[in-house]
């Protein structure tokens, strides 16, 4: 009897074939184990509506219901590492990014972009943002650019910021244009360059500005040597 013939035999309802049983158990097991890890991670780090992310590079409170991604990138040719965190609202066009550079990456950042100080970095970043919106809508125009100084992080580092307001910078799916805002803060934490950006559609930007302020005030940047 070939095994094809045996396949014609119906599966007994009471006792599934052993490999099928193992397969189903593995699926259930992976779901239970995976969601348990997620549950314990949330339970251990929840602070009200925020999650406290604390790693080797920084400590920051993130809104629990915003998308949040972290990664570390390195330059293989010249060395140096950059830790990045980006969070964005699932339903609104509003996002916050934090980048921390190690010493080597900080030096390279200034040299490669030919920038001399923190104010130049912030201004360069908002210009880059404006160029990006021009790619989406070539009729976008700058309403205002404001430069200044602010305190950032729990240790109150002095940061240089640039804030840009762009007319018709965002095109929604129904074809309407909206104004866009973006603020970039740059500061040094020992040898590490820290860049923080907050941008979005004007209304969403204003709605979520409180979240940005909370993140900015709770942020602690630790010494980042790169691994």
């Amino acid at each position: 009897m070939s095994h094809h013939e045996s396949c014609d035999q119906p599966l007994k309802l009471g006792l599934p074939r052993l490999p099928l049983l193992i397969f189903l158990l593995l699926i259930c097991g992976s779901l239970i184990l995976g969601f348990s890890i997620i549950h314990f991670t949330v339970a251990a780090n929840k602070r009200g509506d925020y999650l406290s992310l604390n790693n080797d590079v920084l400590s920051v409170n993130l809104p629990i219901n915003w998308f949040a991604l972290t990664w570390e990138s390195s330059n293989r040719s010249f060395g140096g590492k950059v830790f990045s965190l980006i969070i964005f609202h699932p339903n609104k066009f509003s996002a916050i990014s934090i980048q921390v550079y190690d010493k080597v990456a900080t030096e390279r950042f200034f040299i490669e972009r030919n920038l001399s100080d923190l104010a130049a970095i912030s201004y360069w970043d908002v210009q880059r943002f404006f160029n990006w919106t021009l790619e989406k809508n070539e009729n976008a125009s700058v309403i205002s650019i404001v430069n200044g100084t602010a305190h950032a992080g729990a240790s109150e580092n002095i940061a240089r910021y640039s804030r840009i307001l762009i007319r018709n910078g965002f095109k929604s799916s129904d074809g309407k244009y909206y104004n866009m805002s973006c603020i970039v803060l740059s500061f040094m934490n020992k040898d590490n360059l820290v860049r923080i950006a907050f941008w979005g559609k004007q209304e969403d930007y204003e709605d979520t500005y409180e979240v940005f302020q909370r993140i900015l005030s709770d942020l602690v940047v630790k010494g980042y040597e790169g691994k």
Partner: protein, 168 residues
């Protein structure tokens, strides 16, 4: 004649195990994307999408996707190979799993995903383990009743061969 028949069969077995691998690969290109979308929707629904920033989430994600995506992909490929291939199933299941996984890695390479940070823990390791374990479980699910019957019938055959009086 008998030998050439065997050879012919083995070529069709190779072809079927390749087809099993392609089934495994095809589902690997579709299923993880769908599951990822559903998984994110569940996290948004639960209001805990911010957990994605944590390293422990990466491990949880890998474990869940091993089960709900790559294991299923391998299982489907294994079912086909197990149903079609009659001899040396272990070898042909190995070919099925290898083809599925290697094609998937080649696709990732051409899409430029292999250079993404954390690609090994997020995709490669769950895909490797899921496809191989799934293929073997799928293949053995098909032949399991047959193996079970063979095991049961083995003592009877030995008795018939060894005992001359039975024939008389």
């Amino acid at each position: 004649m008998k030998g050439s028949e065997r050879q012919k069969m083995s070529w069709s077995d190779v072809l079927n195990s390749l087809l099993g691998g392609i089934i495994c690969f095809s589902t690997m290109t579709i299923l993880p994307g769908i599951m990822d979308m559903l998984f994110r929707e569940i996290l948004i629904f639960l209001g805990i999408i911010g957990v994605m920033a944590f390293d422990s989430f990466r491990i949880a994600h890998a474990i869940i996707f091993f089960g709900i995506a790559y294991l299923i992909c391998g299982f489907l490929g294994g079912l086909y190979t197990g149903y079609r291939v009659e001899a040396r199933l272990n070898l042909f299941l190995f070919i099925t799993a290898s083809i599925g996984f290697i094609l998937f890695v080649i696709l990732l390479y051409y899409l430029g995903h292999l250079t993404l940070p954390n690609i090994y823990i997020d995709v490669i390791i769950p895909a490797l383990t899921g496809s191989f374990i799934g293929v073997y479980l799928g293949g053995y699910t098909i032949i399991w009743p047959n193996r079970h019957t063979e095991e049961k019938s083995t003592p009877t055959i030995n008795l018939d061969l060894g005992d001359e009086k039975t024939e008389e």
